[in-house]
Symmetry: C2
Subunit: 93 residues, 2 copies
Amino acid sequence: MAKNYNYVILVYDIGEKRVGKVFKICKKYLVHFQKSVFRGEITPANLIQLRAELKKVIDEGTDFVAVFKMTGDYVFDEEIIGVRLNDSESLLL
Amino acid sequence: MAKNYNYVILVYDIGEKRVGKVFKICKKYLVHFQKSVFRGEITPANLIQLRAELKKVIDEGTDFVAVFKMTGDYVFDEEIIGVRLNDSESLLL
């Protein structure tokens, strides 16, 4: 039985020309965590939508998006070493 | 009872002068996944060691390392959109 994923950690590495668009798309569905890292709860339907929107924008030959899908944020603990940028600064991609 | 974390996903955002050193340290303990993303099994003792080595190298005022700790890689599924760089190329940080 397929697991019911409703939480993701998303990491991307996008060319300069497209990274602003990718940032805006991710921000619609997830919480911005740090520079090129988003995370948060997401329904399967919204994950399909997010994927479709990203595919329209990114250059699949050079850009990279990794989505780690989980059943919830209880499956991991998180640790930060170094600075935790606040949202305004973190737009400096 | 504290969970027994022995798998991590590590994401970093490091200043140009230090990123090479950080890459080498991470590569000692984890598998390079993509540009600024490492992951893999790691013992609690090695995680302590990795953290200590990173802290010696990074500038905690500007650099950022996030470690997502899990009990194993069975807790997530992963999806890649776009290009999956092979190891040699992925050194272009």
